[in-house]
Symmetry: C2
Subunit: 691 residues, 2 copies
């Protein structure tokens, strides 16, 4: 109340006209027109809903009000909204023509009009209205004393119908609250698919009461109950998001085979004792939950009728939990080693005229199609499922690229040309901790390939993938956000929206706003740094983290064995993130200085270098009480050494030979310390490139 | 791996002898002996378990290993522990004689012995062993390069058997993850009771499938499913914690009566229309979920058989969810207004010879005893349930004190003298946001009262209470922690452990370590400050928050109406906490200066004052883009004005008359701004007291 009075009195000051660059919208809408004037918020702000929406709109509007009130401290009078046409005179009028259906191809468009005293949000379905509310929240502006929306007209709709995020909960289990807050993040970014990778070598995460061995033996007690799954599916539905479950078969089978070794492919020749006649001198091996990262051989036996019996029963248990029309069966990275070594499987191949393991896998996958169809589900799988015999109903999930030695997105082009629908994940592997620009510029629509309208239409969209070998509940948000927001823009906005600098600027605000959903990508960094420093002041280490990035790709975890699933992920590399904060500002300062060597431009570069010298000194001090800081010191020292000499160099006072200075800088180009790399190395190098 | 190698090489440096003041243990154990030497940690550290423990020890040890590994980055080889005697040669040997029973009076003692190469943890039950593991984690020391435990012998056991925390989830619903992380906090502090206040005027939070109206009409969709409740009870059990549920009746009844108005006490005289004959010219009113804070009149009708029918059915549904032996039925703050105004109830009183409303309430409560007994539960209630007719089986929860106009703890003394067991909460109301010292020095054993051994034995212990009128999932941890740790020490440690300064020092470390459990009491402050500042740099506002505290008692929410349950709790008062960080250091600087006016001592005081002048300037700058900062500015200015003049005063350069300077300081003694107060006011005043 007290707050409000102050604001009301102060709110009389004039409000400047908003410019498009001030709008930190993401994904950028298809059409934005800014008009003169504003809609100023006050505590009487209310929302009214009309039309025929799904009841999810009530929760959506209630959450919208709480978030807006939380940002502005308005103390809105309106509490919970539970009825149509409750406040006919409300300033925000929402109308939806119809009940939005969760899934593909639903009309998600909306039209938002903001006028001096009225805001009108029209949408075909409540799904569009929810998107419109997110845009409205992003439109919020303020001056010193008041909050307002700029008068404007926005027409918006998505470019692609599949805008997804996959989270792997097998490598590192992610509790319900982690999933929920990230679903909120997806909704805020107008994404509409949550692909839940529930099973892999490292764990089976679904309670299946008719097959209790799976969680008893293969989950370490970390799994979702059926009720929790239903609850998450409902939570996602309320936010307009389809949940696509994945049970990865026939490879990545360690967890399933830990519970059911009898359907595994591996055979072991018996060297003694009595072998049972019917397995001809071989015995089935046992399996264990995998603790490392990598590609492993445990694979289901496609020649064994029991395999299909079990999978059929499991689908009968799992499918009813997910009302959506798609079920992902994985199908990736099956090496076929155990198949090759199993005489019975080889015989089966011959008998069924299956020339290759790939054809054998297709045979396997085809058996799953009717099991899923029975529950009204279409099969989806990673690109390996695609062969000439695969049903055209299947959705091909394209993931391989240069890393896997194939042309980027080739499987996507093959898929659409062969009549399959497809979703792109190659280029959206956010677990690789690459910079945001690489994902942002990766378009599902392949460049330089001529596709027919029908073929283009089969490209459903894309999906960011969060594999969790190196990610815990504490760090996952900082690996997901804000980069996933840039992928959301690629999938929603027009193809020509691709100015990286502009995106970065908006992304900073978007990242900040995502905090209000409970996402921890910003706040948890300090937690990790405090732990490293034994509760000493984190400022110096925080500064250092602004120029350090975790090793990219999978190089942090060499051969997948340095980090087990239960290793500590409380290290400096876990606090660091891609797109380290000072990297671009420093590079810009260097570029400006190289263009014009003015005292101001020199001072900007020198400020960074001086800071890094101080940081190193402070870290040495802090390290006296922080063993976890020791592995970081050599890199801080290398940066400090180079910075000291570069400071002298900028002042033409260097005494070092230029080759020695170059060596100091080159020393910063290392991956030898603490699983991090210095992300300012290339900019440092530029400074002396022309010498 | 890389980390480890560095540590191993560096670990050869000598380790200084640990002193008792370096041990930041809390609650302080009953007996601590420090010996020469240390047990140095390395990656081969392993744990072995023997004896007859409950299987909860396996999870407990696994969590212990992960926390220790997270703090030290050791990359322990041992992953999950699931069997007895798995590593007979392990360096940490745990032996438990028996399966610990969750509840009162269980043997929770443990004996911990740390030697150069061996750690032995012996406990009667696994509950004691879990406590011992927490002590071991708190014993962790380090130098620059290695982590170690000091050689020592610790014998420990609790002083009181009931060491509880109550969380109110009715005023502000607290999701499952909030409850779980706080249960972890309780376990870390060796507390053993979680009292779950599940029902109040503002909501019914328990799924009761046979009475679906309760959650449909009276929960705003915010409730725990039966499975979630069972899951939390199991989670608590695994951590040695008893869950005591509370359904608050017959007062605080708005939520129940929203669903079942027919059992309410209020009558409304009909002024027109047709009244039904059987209610004699009166009609039953309807009720709604309460949105404000305070004491409200909606009360169950004790004269109506339907009341008992419903409660009996509800206990039948709810009791089986909680295996513990206690059920809290509330019973507090029944004003009896609606009873007085209801002729039927008055008649009932007469008929049953119940002279007062208090006796009528006892009549009501006595009806619940057999309903609970049926499920093997003892009744517990707030002190109002105690009258001469109340069963001696009931546990009296003492909560009133000076605030309520009664002598502190009087009901506790009355209870034990009358043969009741009792638990103290008066003095442990952490929602009042008072300083930690007041709670710490509040002993369940009343001073200056002569009690027999039997009477003393009836004092079971105490319970911190977290009412949530002003607390959201984002802020609750900062209201609970670290102060609850000091209460935990009061309830566990010896009576004579009460040095406040010593406790404060240990509490700082304890608070930091609680972060590793996911508690957000430290990290979420920055989140709120960023929101206030529109993502500008929070440093100045963070500094200001170190001298500001939220208004104490219930004065922030005048008459309970300024904040509704859905008001924004994203304000500066929500970021501020009791025991603001700079208050004691500044007071110490002032005291030192007043004792000895040396230049050093003057400089210490001046450093604070100068900082606050700068903070004010920076806040003004920041406020140009932060409407939520406006209400805070006047207070920052007042502190700055007083500080500027005090700086001159310290240098004998003041031009202001001393009365004007006193006025400037007095201006800092205000509660008029942003629901906060300046916690350094009294120290400022001291500086000129003698002038």
């Amino acid at each position: 109340m007290k707050y409000l009075l102050v604001l009301l009195f102060a709110g009389l000051t004039t409000v400047a006209q908003t410019k498009k660059e001030q709008l930190h919208l993401m994904p950028w809408p298809q059409n934005v027109v800014l008009n003169d004037g504003n809609f100023t918020l006050d505590k009487n702000f209310k929302v009214n809903i009309t039309g025929n929406p799904n009841s999810r709109i009530f929760g959506g509007v209630t959450r919208f009000l709480r978030r807006l009130d939380g940002r502005t401290g308005m103390f809105f009078e309106q509490g919970f909204i539970a009825k149509l046409n409750e406040f006919p005179s409300a300033s925000l009028q929402i109308n939806c023509d119809k009940n939005g259906k969760i899934g593909l191809y639903e009309d998600e468009s909306y039209h938002l009009e903001i006028k001096q005293n009225k805001i009108i949000l029209n949408a075909t379905s409540d799904l569009g209205a929810l998107h419109g509310l997110e845009t409205l929240l992003q439109l919020l502006q303020n001056n010193a004393t008041s909050f307002y929306f700029p008068n404007s007209q926005i027409s918006d709709f998505p470019r692609f119908t599949w805008r997804g995020l996959m989270i792997d909960v097998a490598r590192h289990f992610q509790p319900v609250d982690v999933i929920k807050r990230n679903i909120d993040g997806l909704a805020a970014m107008k994404m509409n698919v949550f692909h839940w990778h529930l099973v892999d070598d490292q764990g089976w995460r679904i309670e299946t009461p008719k097959h209790p061995k799976l969680i008893e033996l293969a989950s370490d007690g970390m799994y979702y109950t059926q009720e929790e799954i239903k609850n998450i599916v409902k939570y996602a539905d309320e936010r307009g998001i389809l949940v696509v479950p994945e049970i990865d078969v026939p490879g990545h089978g360690s967890a399933i085979l830990t519970a059911y070794p009898e359907i595994g492919s591996k055979v072991m020749t018996l060297t003694g004792g009595t072998s049972e006649k019917n397995i001809q001198g071989t015995a089935i091996v046992t399996y264990g939950i995998e603790r490392n990262a990598g590609i492993f051989s445990p694979t289901l036996d496609p020649s064994n009728p029991k395999t299909y019996q079990l999978l059929s029963e499991l689908f009968d248990e799992v499918c009813p939990l997910f009302p959506g029309s798609y079920f992902h069966i994985g199908g990736d990275e099956n090496e076929g080693k155990d198949w090759d070594a199993n005489p019975k499987i080889q015989e089966f191949k011959k008998k069924h005229n299956l020339a290759t393991n790939h054809e054998l896998q297709t045979y396997f996958t085809m058996q799953l199609v009717p099991m899923l169809k029975k529950h009204g589900k279409q099969l989806m799988g990673w690109e390996e499922i695609m062969t000439k015999d695969m049903t055209k109903d299947a959705i091909i999930h394209s993931w391989k690229g240069a890393n896997e030695g194939v042309p980027t997105g080739q499987s996507l082009i093959n898929a659409v040309k062969n009549g399959y629908k497809t979703v792109l994940s190659n280029g959206y592997y956010i677990d690789l901790v690459l910079g945001v620009d690489s994902h942002y510029l990766n378009d599902p629509m392949p460049a330089g390939v001529s596709l027919s309208t029908e073929e283009k239409a089969r490209i459903l969209g894309g999906e960011a993938t969060m594999w969790t070998e190196l990610v815990t509940p504490t760090t996952i948000d900082s690996r997901l956000w804000p980069r996933t927001a840039a992928i959301a823009e690629r999938l929603w906005s027009a193809e020509e929206i691709k100015d990286v600098a502009n995106m970065r600027k908006r992304l900073e605000t978007v990242s900040f706003r995502l905090e209000e959903l409970g996402l921890t990508h910003i706040r948890n960094k300090a937690v990790i740094l405090r732990n490293i420093l034994n509760n000493q002041n984190i400022q110096a280490l925080d500064e250092f983290s602004n120029v350090c990035e975790p090793l990219k790709g999978y190089s942090r975890n060499k051969d997948g064995t340095e980090y087990q699933m239960y290793s500590p992920f409380t290290l400096f590399a876990d606090a660091c993130t891609p797109d380290a904060k000072d990297v671009i500002p420093f590079d810009e300062a260097v570029n400006q200085y190289l263009a014009t060597q003015s005292p101001e431009n020199k001072a900007k570069v020198a400020a960074f270098l001086s800071k890094w010298v101080v940081v190193n000194k402070e870290l040495i001090q802090l390290s006296h009480n922080a063993p976890l800081l020791q592995p970081i010191l050599p890199l801080a020292e290398k940066l400090s050494n180079a910075s000291e000499q570069l400071l002298l160099f900028l002042d033409n006072k260097q005494t070092l030979k230029i080759t020695d200075l170059k060596n100091l800088i080159e020393a910063c180009n290392t991956k030898d310390h603490a699983d991090i790399e210095l992300a300012v190395y290339t900019s440092l190098k530029k400074l002396i490139e022309k010498v």
